[in-house]
């Protein structure tokens, strides 16, 4: 095992994995994290802890990850290239691993112009594909980016993102291939609403042999309301919400729209479970964490598998 974490164990054992998402608070309020974490316990195999998402300052991802570990949740520590250079990244990677974080998601990061500090300097010292490769080299070769030796390499299961709906569409699977070649162990996709287009993307990934090399978790975000559906369709970069889906939400009584959103998500999950090359889902119930138990229950994803963690391996370089 590369990390000794639960998510890796679940995926390697061939279970259909479920990951969740938790956005840290805009302050040092520990109870706010605990409140969001509570409903996710036992419902997901790991939970993504976002890193200054949409370029808005929040409690750091690694600190929130540690609180989640205390609460009995396995975190997937997110790191964006926007906010730190290669020194800060490597330092945080070592610290995260040292304190028991076992998964990491490497991202470029939303552009700073979207956030609460649009005047800031975006770092972008290295890009997400270079970050993936840097973590892999640290873990598997026990070397810093500089080539110097690491005393105690990090043990992390390396994640990356893929957006099948970005453009040019034909290039998306090749960008995925680059992330796999760089060392990604698992992929979490952008929220999927256009299932037909996602199917074409996965077909291409299957044809290129990528799904044999990497675990792909399909992104699901239930639509809570009509305004949310419209916002996702028009205002979120890289999102593809078909008109028919908006019409479907619009077609039901206002009070039942949230339920209809969950129903749609469950139908998607059933379809994804049948899809060759899909290893699980990444459930992003944005500011709706308390609904996760209901969603995974209705989608038939409970109970979550209990996979015995494998004995820890000696770090690379030791006999």
């Amino acid at each position: 095992m590369k990390s000794g974490g639960n998510l890796e164990a679940v995926l390697v054992a061939g279970h259909f994995a479920v990951t969740g998402e938790l956005g840290p608070p805009r302050g040092s309020n520990v109870d706010a994290v605990r409140k969001k974490a509570a409903p996710l316990k036992g419902m997901v195999d790991a939970v993504n802890i976002t890193d200054n998402q949409t370029a808005v300052v929040r409690m750091s991802s690694w600190a929130t990850s540690l609180i989640c570990i205390q609460e009995g949740l396995e975190p997937n520590y997110q790191m964006v290239c926007r906010d730190r250079n290669r020194l800060a990244m490597q330092a945080d990677i070592l610290g995260a691993s040292a304190l028991g974080i076992r998964n990491m998601l490497a991202l470029s990061g939303d552009h700073q112009s979207f956030g609460d500090h649009p005047k800031c300097k975006g770092v972008f010292d290295i890009d997400s594909i270079q970050l993936i490769n840097m973590v892999k080299t640290m873990r598997d070769e026990s070397k810093f980016l500089s080539g110097e030796a690491i005393d105690g390499p990090p043990r992390l299961f390396i994640g990356a993102a893929a957006n099948p709906f970005g453009e040019p569409f034909e290039f998306r699977v090749h960008r995925l291939a680059k992330k796999v070649a760089a060392g990604a162990d698992f992929i979490q996709t952008q929220c999927i609403y256009n299932m037909e287009k996602f199917g074409r993307f996965i077909d291409m990934a299957n044809d290129m042999g990528l799904t044999q090399k990497v675990h792909i978790l399909a992104g699901i975000t239930p639509l809570k309301s009509l305004p949310m559906a419209k916002y996702m369709a028009t205002s979120v970069p890289g999102m593809d919400v078909p008109e028919a889906l908006i019409k479907r939400i619009e077609g039901v009584d206002k009070k039942k729209r949230a339920d209809e959103g969950i129903k749609i998500a469950c139908e998607q999950i059933q379809e994804l479970r049948e899809m060759k090359g899909v290893a699980g889902i990444h459930l992003m119930a944005i500011e709706w964490e308390h609904k996760v138990p209901e969603i995974v229950e209705r989608a038939g994803l409970l109970p979550r598998p209990k996979v015995a963690p494998p004995p820890p391996q000696p770090p690379a370089g030791e006999a």
Binding site: G109, F171, H174, R175
Partner: protein, 227 residues
Amino acid sequence: MIVGHLKDLSAIAASVRGHKKILALGCGGCVTVCRSGGAAEAEDLTREISHPRHHAGIPPVLTTATIERQCERDIVRDFLKLPEGTDAILSLACGAGVQIVADVFDPLPVIPALSTTFLGGADEPGVWREKCRGCGDCLLTRTGGICPIALCAKSLLHGPCGGSRGGHCEVGGDTECAWAKIYARLERQGRLDLLEQPVAVRDWRCAGGAGPREHRRTGVELRFGKT
């Protein structure tokens, strides 16, 4: 070329406050071509800043001159003669020109009238756009002659991020996605294979990360032969 734009007149007027005799100095180089700091603009600025509406008290007296290039110490030293009594220079050059003039006439105050913005080109009459960030390690060979360092908002090196839609960047407005353009051009060139290659982590020292950069003329003997 180096592109700059004229600062707000109120800001320029505030920056010359307290000076009585000012030389407005145009530059015959890049800023003449991009119509922001040449002889004509220096004349216009002289007329504007001399006007009492910009000043609470007595307006300063401005004279105007333009030299071939403010960014060459030899030219500035040998050809620029200051009018008697000049107590400040208002330079319409780029930041490089302002600094050379300030060095040559040290300790005379040299005040910038422009903000230097970017290395760009004229895409259409009257419109200049950023093209190059002077990063010191040109990668245009593999990106179809379109620079992702200057033109991608995240300076990505491995293709468009998930925010690329309809050829536009996620930062919005009319911003084009540099990687969408790169992809389209490489496709036309039959060179999409270039995008398969991983790009090594960059050495930002040559982009200025190790302090100010220097260029020295080399190869003189090769070009002219030994004398």
